[in-house]
């Protein structure tokens, strides 16, 4: 059994309070100082110690592998707030045992926008990985691990060998989440699945005292993986799981540091990057006529586009995109794309299941979804006015 540990690094350009009365003022929509401040804090608590732990694991365990995705907005902020974080990632990549995963540069829902937005954003991201890390990624992930037959076809057209997806029952149709599959819609694309129970044991449950398995030791966890039948197990989670969602005081970093040893003691366990894993012979096909994501209880796009506020904001963004593209001003295009980052829509989530609401509030930078929507719409309205003026 090969373990695919895949960690996702992302930071959005959060908006400043941009009032309705600020329309036309020329003020920036983004709160750079606050974004970089937040970044520095997370770098201290999570990025640095976790990257160091990973590098240490790579140095001491020739078997160890890890895969990362890093959004363009993450790298932009890292460059300004904590350049050493980028250097640490580069050091990981130089070991040759770390795969980087392609995605949309702006962590956007570009796959719901008319072409060529998706292809352009993926191209931007590929160029960034090439320029910054000398890497040409072969595996694609979509924002929030979105997967569908259409997206697999897109990946095939872009010559990716594989895509990541949630190992959700709706997608698997009775098949095991611990095998590699072929995309039903795109035979050259292999689908690698997130094992959500084991991933969430670390991601969500690790520090919960109410959890029957608390405290989770690396030995116990390795033994669970060893007992799981199959060829490959996808442990996909936010990078910030280590040190941020679970602070260092919970022992999460010690858990990570001890994991390679614990895995080494299990005779049938090994590690693989996403690129190694997609070379495993597929056991069948998976098909997703409707998009599946890794979020919330429903594994759909409801977290971003589930309510009227979110849909109206996204539709408005789509319309402004038409104007911005017609104008062709690169600065406005970049600003528009920063507004496409899915987090903005996530903040507008209103209700739903208790557990999900808690998760949404944890990630929100606003007092309420109404705040988030009003502020977003102000920025977008201002951008539209600028585009319209430019077109005159």
């Amino acid at each position: 059994m090969k373990i695919v540990l895949y960690l996702h690094l992302h930071q959005p350009w959060r908006l400043a309070r941009f009032r309705y009365l600020d329309l036309g003022s020329g003020r920036s929509y983004f709160d750079d100082a606050r974004n970089l401040d937040l970044f520095r804090g997370i770098a201290e608590r999570s990025y640095r110690p976790t990257l160091d732990a990973l590098l240490d694991a790579l140095e001491h365990h020739s078997e160890f592998r890890v895969s990362l995705s890093l959004t363009g907005t993450f790298i932009e902020q890292a460059d300004r707030a904590a350049p050493d974080v980028v250097q640490r990632i580069a050091a990981l990549v130089r070991t040759g045992r770390v795969a980087l995963v392609a995605e949309t540069y702006y962590h956007s829902l570009a796959f719901l926008l008319p072409p060529p937005e998706l292809a352009e954003e993926v191209a931007l991201h590929r160029r960034m990985l090439k320029e910054r890390f000398g890497v040409e990624p072969k595996v694609l992930r979509m924002t929030e691990l979105a997967y569908s037959d259409d997206l697999a076809r897109f990946a095939e057209g872009e010559r990716f060998h594989g895509m990541l997806a949630e190992g959700w029952e709706g997608l698997l149709a009775g098949q095991s989440p611990t095998q590699v599959y072929c995309a039903a819609s795109a035979p050259t694309v292999q689908v690698l699945l997130r094992h959500y129970p084991l991933s969430d044991d670390i991601g969500f449950r690790f520090s919960s005292h109410e959890w029957a398995e608390y405290p989770l030791t690396s030995e116990k966890y390795a033994s669970w993986i060893a007992r799981t039948p199959g060829e490959v197990v996808g442990l996909f989670m936010d990078f910030e799981t280590f040190g941020e969602h679970h602070p260092a005081s919970t022992g999460i970093l010690d858990f990570l540091r001890a994991l390679p040893d614990a895995v080494a003691r299990e005779p049938h366990l090994g590690w693989a990057t996403v690129e190694e894993a997609v070379r495993i012979h597929p056991k069948g096909t998976v098909s997703a006529p409707v998009t599946v994501s890794w979020a919330d209880q429903n594994r759909d796009l409801g977290a971003w586009l589930g309510n009227d506020l979110q849909r109206s904001a996204f539709e408005a963004a789509k319309k402004v995109g038409t104007l911005v593209r017609r104008l062709g001003d690169p600065e406005l295009l970049t600003t528009w794309r920063k507004l496409l980052t899915s987090d903005h829509f996530y903040y507008m989530y209103v209700g739903g299941h208790g557990a999900d609401l808690g998760v949404h509030q944890y990630f929100s930078s606003y007092g309420s979804p109404y705040d988030a929507y009003a502020n977003y719409m102000n920025a977008l309205t201002d951008l539209r006015q600028r585009a319209v003026q430019g077109l005159r």
Binding site: D22, Y370, Y373
Partner: protein, 380 residues
């Protein structure tokens, strides 16, 4: 229960609170003797006995007519209130009650005397403070009565956390004995809006300095050029009225502002059914039940951050009371983004009706239970 105003004779949140509270308390099986200086008739509540000093007029020395209008600060005003308090202190059957519950400052002297004499525990509910009502120029006589009530009370109920903090900061109330019980509203039937083509931004309330209605007008002046159709409606009366009318003229928006004067509850409900945004810009607002009523009617509300209602309501915009641009922006956002108006209207309605007067009465009874648990110790 030592009260003051009561429907249909009431001007503020206190009267509504007492009415709804006694209604729920009696529904729960408790019986209430409600003391008020005013002559009835009052809105009948089964299980509530109204008592006013009218019957014992000569003994208590109360000039009852004086209470046809609420007394304001001035010579002679306190004499009547002193009489009311003497009458409370000497009520022969006070000992027949389990708890003496005093609202605000009017009856604190008599309530505390009665509690001392009978050994009954005393609860004081504070709806607003003299500091707030006077915008920082308190009337010492009133202040002293508030202080006496807070000191003598076994438990204090504040209608918001913000107010509780003020009681601790300004009156040195012991935070351990202050509980927070919010106001509530009842769901009303949804009326159909008036036939109209203009968006209405509504203020309903007294035209008093603490209400910050000038902020409403200044914000209106900034919204008006951006949202050409919007009409700003001020419903209510009060001492600030002439100044506010003049201000509207100076701001150049006299054609965009409608001063309606006093409106009945029915008229208010019709206005709410037609309004796009409700604004409560109070400088101080211990609770702000008007905003909760608007939300219950599905109207999104913009309130000042200091309003107690902002503590419990989720579907609301809370703004610093001095931040005119932010008030204007929030109003414009609600007018310009229909999806926001609808979502916040729905969210606000749900949030306003989540806990009703039944819950508030239960929370009040919990406070009674607390003081009754402590009562034997007190008497010993």
């Amino acid at each position: 229960m030592v009260g003051w105003e009561f429907p249909p004779h009431h001007t503020g949140g206190l009267g509504v609170h007492c009415y709804e509270l006694t209604k729920e308390l009696t529904r729960m099986g408790h019986s209430v003797t409600f003391l008020t200086p005013f002559k009835g008739p009052f809105t009948e509540v089964p299980g509530v006995t109204f008592r006013s000093p009218g019957g014992d007029r000569e003994r208590a020395g109360i000039p009852l007519e004086a209470y046809e209008e609420l007394p304001g600060p001035g010579p002679g005003a306190m004499e009547g209130i002193d009489g009311y308090n003497r009458w409370i202190a000497e009520l022969p059957d006070a000992a027949g009650h389990d708890v003496i519950h005093v609202h605000d400052w009017f009856g604190t002297v008599g309530g505390a005397d009665a509690a001392r004499r009978t050994g009954r525990p005393m609860v004081v509910t504070i709806h607003s403070t003299e500091y707030d009502r006077s915008l920082g120029h308190p009337w010492p006589d009133v202040l002293a009565r508030e202080q006496l009530g807070l000191d003598a009370a076994d438990r204090v109920i504040a209608v918001s956390r913000h107010l509780k903090q003020q009681l601790v900061d300004r009156y040195a109330a012991n935070p351990a004995k202050v509980r927070v019980v919010y106001n509530a509203v009842r769901p009303s039937e949804r009326l159909s809006p008036l036939a109209q083509s203009r968006a209405i931004v509504l203020y309903v309330g007294r035209l008093a300095a603490m209400k910050g209605v000038d902020t409403f007008l200044r914000a209106a002046a900034r919204v008006a050029p951006n949202v050409p159709g919007a009409l700003f409606v001020v419903a209510g009366e009060g001492p600030e009225y002439p100044r506010l009318v003049t201000l509207a003229v100076h701001l150049g928006i006299s054609d965009r502002v409608l001063f309606l004067g006093h409106v009945s509850e029915e008229e208010r409900d019709v206005l709410l059914a037609s309004a796009s945004v409700f604004v409560l810009p109070s400088v101080v607002e211990p609770f702000g039940i008007a905003a909760l009523e608007a939300m219950a009617a599905g109207v999104p509300a913009v309130v000042s951050k200091t309003s107690g209602v902002a503590e419990i309501a989720a579907g609301i915009f809370a703004v610093d009371f001095w931040d005119i641009d932010e008030f204007a922006s929030r109003i414009a956002e609600l007018l310009e983004y229909p999806a926001l108006r609808l979502a916040m209207g729905e969210g606000g309605r749900w949030s306003a009706l989540k806990e009703g007067w039944a819950e508030r009465a239960l929370q009040t009874v919990e406070v009674y239970a607390e003081v009754l648990r402590d009562a034997p110790r007190k008497r010993a």
